[in-house]
């Protein structure tokens, strides 16, 4: 790894989906060795941002640089090599349904290393123990609850001790006990393995409690960034509305629609068929 202070740099990024701009001229830095939380209302493209960093999507303009390498310009082979140094926890877990819990976690080790079987077994059990699921090693993904599946997926994502770990909504659907453990685990993994962590979430309390650096996105732009304290103190109306969870404010809660009264009174005349 190079010595620059930022592991990921996003410069002037524009990304369109069916002519709608998800990001327009977005610039963002993810400092090395820290936990960066990317927050924002639903539909601001948080997951899309992770996919752009992982090279699964290509930006329409601008560049995504990971450890000095411009991701959009990499060949397929170089991209797959870079991805071996990244770990990503998907929102759905995305476990391989035909493999057992043990084999799911062993998968990255089997394909990318030539370690002997007994060493792979030890490593898998260590990773599973760290998410509290060593006893579930023989289960199939279909036998796990959603939360357990996500923890197995986390064990799989850290199997190769990645330098950059990306979490897509890790706190959704976890019970309070698991949630507490998970928050602690993300912190511990980051510090103990010297990882850089990017966390995409809209769970404000959890994010602000573990993040070193927070970015709030809205309308394809970085609204504000800084330490959790700075975010909490922010005077921007949009940020306040988001942090306090208010329905009324600059961020519209409702999808754009015609006038409500008009819609009700003149139903059937405006081309709406029932």
């Amino acid at each position: 790894m190079s010595d620059t202070a930022n592991l990921v740099e996003i410069n002037g990024l524009t990304f369109l989906r069916e002519k709608r701009a998800i990001f327009s001229d977005l610039s963002l830095r993810i400092p090395k060795g820290k936990i960066t939380a990317i927050m924002g209302p639903s539909g601001t493209g948080k997951t899309t941002l992770l996919r752009l960093i992982g090279g699964q999507l290509k930006p329409d303009q601008g560049n995504v640089v990971v450890d000095g390498l411009g991701v959009p310009g990499l060949s397929r082979k170089q991209l797959f090599e870079l991805r071996q140094r990244m770990g990503m926890l998907f929102q759905s877990g995305a476990l391989f349904s035909e493999l057992s819990v043990f084999e799911n976690v062993a998968f990255p080790l089997r394909v990318h290393t030539s370690l002997p079987d007994d060493m792979i077994r030890d490593l898998v059990l260590i990773k599973l123990e760290s998410v509290g699921l060593r006893g579930a090693r023989d289960l199939m993904p279909s036998e796990l609850s959603g939360g357990m599946g996500r923890r197995v997926a986390l064990a799989r994502a850290i199997a190769l001790d990645p330098e950059l770990m990306m979490y897509d909504e890790p706190f959704v659907g976890q019970d309070p006990i698991t949630l507490g453990v998970l928050v602690k685990l993300i912190r511990q993994l980051n510090d103990a393995l010297n990882m850089t962590t990017v966390l995409v979430s809209h769970d404000i309390d959890e994010c602000l409690s573990i993040a070193d650096h927070v970015c709030v996105l809205s309308g394809g732009q970085v609204l504000v960034e800084g330490t959790p304290e700075e975010i909490l103190k922010s005077d921007l109306a949009e940020v306040k509305q988001f942090i306090q969870g208010l329905p009324d404010g600059p961020v519209p809660f409702r999808y754009p629609a015609s006038d409500f009264a008009e819609d009700i009174l003149f139903a059937g005349k405006s081309g709406v068929s029932v």
Partner: protein, 260 residues
Amino acid sequence: MLDWLQHIGHRVLSVVAGLGRSAQLLIAALFGVGYVLKNFRLLVKQVYVTGVLSIAIIGVSGLFIGMVLGLQGYSILVDFGAEEALGQMVALTLLRELSPVVAALLFAGRAGSALTAEIGLMKATEQLASMEMIGVDPIKRVIAPRLYAGIIALPLLCILFSVVGVWGGMLVGVEWLGVFEGSYWGNMQASVSFIHDVLNGVIKSVVFAFVVTWIAVFQGYDLEPTSEGISRATTKTVVHGSLAVLGLDFVLTALMFGDF
């Protein structure tokens, strides 16, 4: 009028773009041959899933089609006193046409649709995306073994279809309707040419296997990851696959047997 033109243009563009994407996928998957050979177990498993698990439907269909051929053939030939030629009629019909075509149609319905649904569900549940993020190319790991397995399995199934069909024809013709067994087999032996009939049938089957499996894996890989998208793609695999088989069969027959 302009709207209509625009609609046609849009459809044509999307078909052309789809063809381009399918060609890209095919080339990438074919180049995955090294990965498939290195991870031979993946291929063996897929040959089992697409081939071995299709044996029952292919065997039963082959038997019934052979029996029907025996019955129909006898009722036509007996009017001319030529029922001794039943063996060669059954064998040639099966080897040249019915085995490759019917086996491919059944394969599209049994194995092709399953391939599309499996790959599609892997896409919908982000398994393909997570594999990419682990640094493993899903085209090599998921698509290539399935493509090669289909190309291996269908020709073997086609041969099985012919064998069972010929036996079914004998069951009806010889055992039931009383055609002399020696002439059933003897005429068949005398008139069936290995290269012209057997090999050409197998070549047809290889071409069908290639096309049907290609359509199946592409539809799975390219589908819209929703429940509706999966159902639409599975239907497309069977419809496009079957039409491609029937269309190609005419072309191949014209090339192989068209020189009178």
